[in-house]
């Protein structure tokens, strides 16, 4: 069992995430304060809902998490947690993200380049278009489908491992060193989702 810190900053219920992490052999604990993070071999920032919820991850949390990342402990952001890895989001312009990845998150436009309308929020199963190889997508076939539910997206950058298209193209999986993020819900994405969580656990070692 490997000790993973699952950060609960009250952005949605974590029952499903806990269950999926248990299924891949993670021993999960929920730190009450940044000081509790010390024994963590890896850190997971989940979350659904509004970017403003990340206000709970204040400077002390950020410093501590950045310190762990600097020490080589893998960090995984899920959904809102992925967006938090970037510099910020138009959803809450006054808040900063962790800033370990460059770019700003913004709302899906709700239409494709040819003007075809798509619904926002983006809810349901959509495919992963592989742009680069990375440990987080080991064994995940190009075109595999996963479950999304969100309205804001991160841009496709050099750190993008897979992109997904809903009207426009956005980053669905990112990885830069020990920092990884997924815009979808691996805990709700069947076997593909569990594979991605297992890959994260392998990164933790």
């Amino acid at each position: 069992m490997t000790r993973i810190a699952l950060i609960d900053y009250k952005a949605g219920n974590l029952t499903s995430v806990r269950k999926a992490l248990a299924a891949v052999g993670a021993e999960v604990f929920t730190p009450e304060t940044p000081a509790d993070l010390a024994p963590a071999r890896g850190v997971i920032v989940p979350g659904v809902g509004h970017f403003s919820a990340t206000v709970a991850l204040d400077d002390e949390w950020r410093r501590t998490i950045l310190g762990l990342v600097g020490a080589g402990r893998p960090l995984l952001g899920i959904c809102l947690g992925l967006q938090w890895l970037f510099e910020g989001s138009d959803e809450s312009p006054d808040l900063k993200g962790l800033g370990v990845l460059s770019g700003m998150c913004r709302k899906l436009r709700g239409e494709s380049a040819d003007g075809t309308a798509v619904k926002v929020p983006h809810v349901g199963w959509n495919s992963l278009e592989r742009l680069a190889d990375a440990p987080i997508v080991d064994g995940v076939p190009d075109g595999a489908q996963v479950y999304f539910t969100h309205s804001y997206v991160a841009p496709v950058t050099a750190d993008t491992v897979t992109a997904t298209t809903h009207g426009e193209r956005f980053a669905s999986i990112v990885q830069r060193g020990v920092v990884a993020g997924v815009q979808f819900h691996p805990e709700k994405s069947g076997e593909i989702g569990l594979t991605i969580l297992r890959n994260y656990m392998k990164m933790v070692g």
Binding site: A11, G12, N13, T15, S16, K19, A20, A23, V48, G49, G110, V118, K119, V120, P121, H122, V123, G124, W125, N126, S127, Q145, Y147, T149, T165, H166, E187, K188, S189, G190, E191, G193, L194
Partner: protein, 256 residues
């Protein structure tokens, strides 16, 4: 491209799936966890557990059922039936439901949609609407909404109620046609399209599924984002896999 979702509904009473089930190889035909596992293997995109006899003393049994289904299932799970208060919703969510579906309670207390959206996020809040074709006092055609399992008129139009539910924080609409429910003559594509085009959130069509082409119709002319069925799958009249192959052959994006 975003796939159209196929959702199976399990009607559960006292921890057992009711409505006939006819799968081969199930140890206990009425065991929701075993049926859920079967659907998952077949490629279902999502499951709904509908507690059809939800009463206060039976809520604990429902939580046990949710836990049993959620334990080994890693796809979205919605729970509906008898969720009347924030506490009812909390019990379902803590047991492992990803979404709670509100019907009569949302009509009686629309602010509950907002309360739950604030607590769990809109993605966790489904507003279930049961409606049928009707004519209002001015002679205009409407889709009349009914509560309490279709027995009580809510004096509202489904399109207008769906828009309000979206504004109040619902993340999805589960739209059931009372006219079509149980008939197997096809979904009510006209009503589904009217609601789906009026809101930005996904609309799940329900009621009337009988043959594979009914699903093609509801995803094209019905503009549905997802379709829900129960008995067509339980009786193994068709498998989820065969349905998805049929949809794909008709150029409808699905997860296979």
């Amino acid at each position: 491209m975003l796939s159209k979702r196929i959702i199976a509904c399990l009607d559960v009473r006292d921890g057992q799936v009711v409505k006939g089930i006819n799968f081969e190889g199930l140890r206990s035909a009425g065991d929701p966890a075993e049926l859920a596992r079967r659907y998952n293997v077949e490629g279902i995109d999502e499951l709904v557990i509908l507690d059809i006899t939800a009463t206060l003393e039976r809520r604990r049994a429902l939580a046990d059922t949710i836990q049993a289904v959620a334990r080994e299932l890693f796809i979205p799970l919605a729970v509906g039936g008898g969720i009347r208060t924030e506490a009812d919703a909390a019990l379902a969510v803590e047991a492992g439901a990803d979404k709670v579906s509100l019907n009569s309670a949302a009509l009686a207390h629309p602010e509950l949609l907002t309360t739950l959206a604030n607590r769990y996020g809109s993605q966790a809040v489904v507003c279930a609407i049961d409606a049928k074709h009707a004519v209002d006092a001015q002679g205009r055609k409407i889709y009349a909404v009914y509560s309490r399992s279709g027995t009580t008129s809510a004096n509202r139009d489904a399109v207008e109620w769906a828009k309000e539910a979206e504004e109040r924080g619902a993340g999805e609409i589960l739209l059931t046609s009372i006219d079509r429910d149980g008939t197997k003559i096809g979904f009510d594509c006209e009503m589904t399209a009217a609601v789906s085009r009026a809101v930005s959130i996904p609309v799940i069509a329900s009621g009337g599924a009988g043959k594979l082409d009914d699903f093609v119709d509801v995803f094209t002319t019905g503009a549905a984002d997802a379709a829900l069925a129960a008995s067509i799958f339980h009786y193994a009249e068709t498998s989820v896999h065969a349905l998805k192959a049929h949809l794909r052959a008709h150029h409808i994006p699905v997860r296979i």
